[in-house]
């Protein structure tokens, strides 16, 4: 049992949660993730480690299916039954020169810890945080502190640059030499945005979040194709060379359980209504 230390909303449908788990917090590095299992009936879901403080670490997630909706209902003092981690290979955060970190929506959660590690290695770090609208922007202050410069974009122009994060990335590349780029967000956003850096062959990392079960390389559920080879995102990643990733395959596999995810969420919500929010344990 791992206690929830702090929890609450960050933006529309986006929540943060600090969980006490010394084995994770004491060993976590930028780019790694944990696997949560909320209770005895729960599934195992991967979540990126977004920050660490003492014995606790933070995850940030968007409510999409049943498990994330249930997770969002947990408050300080509640518990998560199982927390395994830290898992996956850490980000490559050696000295590159100038690095640009591009976050799309909830994917921004992964960036501050990477930004701090890159800064510690002596890099100049430029952050670009994009979202559909101002209400979905997260971690602006934290990113502003962690980066040398922070740029904001919204698809609808409600805050910052009116357009996509990819456009801001192009602007940065036009004005200065960029040595490495991280793009973390929804699969489609990563697929499109990494095309910006492909012509100049700038080293570009994406963090993949396919369906996982054990998260330790034992089931192959999270297999992705990178550079024509099958890789397991849980142990070979989650970060990969963006220009080598087969994003269509990733998106196809992410849809595997869509009908089941819908059924599970509907059942959970119906149950919540039936007991007026008293018991979340459907």
């Amino acid at each position: 049992m791992y206690s929830v230390e702090r929890a609450g909303p960050l933006a529309d449908k986006v929540y943060q949660m600090w969980v006490k788990a010394p084995h994770v917090a004491h060993h976590a590095q930028a780019g790694q993730f944990v696997i949560f299992r909320i209770d005895e009936k729960g599934e195992r879901i991967p979540l990126t480690i977004s920050a660490v403080d003492g014995d606790s670490f933070r995850v940030i997630f968007m409510t999409i299916g049943k498990t994330t909706t249930h997770l969002a209902a947990l408050k300080a003092g509640d518990h998560v039954l199982d927390v395994a981690g830290p898992l996956g290979k850490p980000s490559e955060t050696h000295m590159f020169g100038t690095c640009v970190l591009v976050g799309g929506g909830v994917g921004t959660a992964s960036l501050p810890i990477i930004a701090r590690a890159l800064k510690a290695s002596g890099n100049r770090v430029i952050g670009i945080v994009g979202a559909r609208n101002a209400g979905l922007l997260i971690l602006e202050d934290e990113m502003a502190k962690a980066c040398d410069e922070l740029l904001i974009s919204t698809d609808d122009g409600t805050k910052g640059f009116h357009g996509f994060a990819a456009d801001l990335l192009k602007q940065v590349m036009a004005r200065e030499k960029v040595d490495a780029v991280w793009i973390i967000g929804p699969a489609m956003m990563m697929k499109v945005t990494c095309e910006v850096t492909r012509p100049a062959a700038i080293k570009t990392f994406v963090s993949l979040n396919p369906v996982m079960v054990d998260g330790t390389g034992m089931c192959g559920s999270c297999r992705v194709i990178v550079g024509g080879e099958t890789k397991f995102a849980c142990v070979d990643g989650p970060e990969f060379d963006a220009h080598q990733v087969d994003f269509n395959l990733l998106m196809g596999r992410l849809r595997t359980y869509q009908p089941e995810e819908k059924e599970s969420l509907e059942r959970y919500n119906a149950h919540l209504c039936a007991c007026k929010g008293g018991d979340h344990h459907a």
Binding site: H23, V24, H27, Q32, R37, K41, G42, E43, R44, K66, T67, L81, D82, V83, A84, G85, P86, L87, V213, D214, T216, G217, M218, C219, G220, S221, R223, I225, T230, V235, L249, G252, R253, R255, T256, Y257, E260, E261, E263, S264, R267
Partner: protein, 459 residues
């Protein structure tokens, strides 16, 4: 030649009705009654030089425990087994006795060998029902050892070392101990409450179990090596895929994933449990080992029409004969001398293209080498495909310790005492041998524990 056997004396068949059992995950084999066990035990010749013991990787005093059963001393029989084996209810069920103790049994020459596995299981089940006797342990040595992986090897090493008086910390990356006993072997062959009970008995020895800890990540290799000695029992959890076109389509599973979703995560009970699975109305399983049979029989219980495709002949199937028989009884269709070459489909699977295989000159294993027959391609309709063609040693931890020597198949190289090239580090089970059986892993762990004890006492 068939030898007739007096019906009264041979008791093996306790399988539940086929029509009933294919709809649930309850145990297929019901086990012996005490009357049957006593009768079977009385058949034992109590050989002066018992051959059966030579076939037991953990060295159980088989005639002694059988003698106690024949005398009705079931608790005493349990105590004799547990001197050598802390997991008897598990081993009684999943050991391939027919190629171990029972193959050696002298009665097998003329009639049927003693059903040693069934008797072991009977004794363990009887003891559990009457309250398990807490195991004895020596006084503390004050030394600390780490065991990595809570599967059959790790549990056995932990139990042995704890009984010798060591403080054992057992690290497990999953949320439950048991390894393949929990995630791999289905409940209808090995009920999970039995696994949990035998693990609990190991833990009563004072073994400190740390779940959700992936060694190399949740604790560093340096921290691991700060223990006085280390046993690596990380198993063979790396699933092999076949490299077929279409293999990454949604609906294609490794047997590990398919079985883990059901056995460990209870996806058969979705949406009551949160983990989903593609149940499949037409399922193709590739492979012929115990894991392939398990996957096929699980898929059958999820409601699918299941076809097992194996590239060699019936007599080459590596699975236990009893499990193959049960799979057939349960309606699994066997397509032998055939091999999948392509998974068909666009968004999901629509079929599996296979090719017929012909048997050529014997290969290294002594079996005829299968080769595809040109122009013999055929398609099996399918919406789920499961690759059950084997697993390799878990590469994760051992690749983090460059000082370990690795063999051709990715296994950790050990000497005859299961010592790796590193002074403090021992390894046993599938991580050292490649995918094998529960009992061989346990035998290796026992030997390793003895060698670790020797090393620590000589220091």
């Amino acid at each position: 030649m068939r030898i007739s056997v007096p019906a009264k004396a041979v008791i093996t068949m306790h399988d539940r009705d086929i029509e009933q059992r294919v709809h649930d995950f309850k145990e297929v084999d019901g086990g012996m009654t005490s009357g049957e066990a006593t009768l079977e035990a009385e058949r034992c010749l109590q050989c002066k030089k018992p051959l059966c013991m030579k076939g037991c990787p953990v060295g159980i005093d088989i005639p002694a425990f059988i003698r106690e059963i024949a005398s009705g001393n079931f608790q005493k029989a349990a105590a004799i087994i547990k001197e050598q084996n802390m997991l008897p209810a598990i081993c009684g069920r999943v050991c391939p006795q027919e190629v171990q103790c029972e193959e050696q049994c002298i009665l097998g020459v003329r009639e049927k060998p003693i059903s040693i596995g069934e008797l072991e299981r009977f004794v363990a089940d009887t003891e559990r029902a009457h309250g398990m006797v807490p195991p004895q342990k020596k006084t503390s040595t004050g030394r600390k050892v780490a065991v990595v992986g809570a599967g059959p090897a790790g549990l056995t090493a932990s139990a042995e070392l704890a009984r010798m008086g060591y403080h054992v910390t057992l690290f497990e990356s999953l949320h439950a101990a048991g390894g393949v006993l929990m995630y791999g072997i289905p409940a209808f062959r090995l009920p999970k409450d039995i696994v949990k009970a035998e693990i609990a008995a190991v833990l009563t020895l004072g073994v400190e179990l740390k779940l959700n800890h992936l060694v190399g990540r949740s604790i560093t290799v340096k921290e691991l090596l700060s223990y006085d000695a280390v046993f690596l029992g990380t198993g063979a959890g790396l699933p092999y895929f076949m490299g077929l076109p279409g293999e990454n389509l949604p609906g294609v599973y490794s047997a590990n994933e398919f079985l883990t979703r059901v056995n460990l995560m209870h996806a058969d009970q979705f949406p009551l449990f949160d983990t989903p699975i593609k149940k499949g109305s037409r399922v193709v399983v590739a492979g012929g080992g115990n894991v392939a049979m398990d996957a096929a029989r699980v898929a059958r219980r999820l409601g699918g029409k299941v076809t097992l495709v194996y590239r060699r002949r019936e007599e080459d199937l590596p699975a236990r004969e009893a499990e193959t028989r049960r799979a057939k009884e349960e309606g699994i269709e066997f397509v032998l001398c055939a091999n999948p070459v392509k998974i068909l489909g666009d968004q999901g699977i629509t079929g599996v293209e296979c090719v017929r295989m012909e048997m050529c000159a014997p290969d290294q294993s002594g079996r005829p080498e299968p080769a595809p027959i040109e122009g013999s391609h055929f398609t099996i309709d399918a919406d789920v495909f499961i690759a059950a063609i084997g697993q390799g040693p878990n590469p994760l931890l051992i690749s983090e310790i460059p000082e370990l020597k690795r063999g051709k198949r990715g296994n950790v190289v050990v000497d005859s005492e299961f010592h790796t090239l590193m002074r403090k580090v021992f390894a046993g089970g599938d991580v050292a041998t490649g995918a094998a059986t529960v009992i061989l892993a346990m035998g290796a762990a026992k030997s390793a524990a003895k060698a670790m004890d020797r090393m620590l006492r000589e220091e």
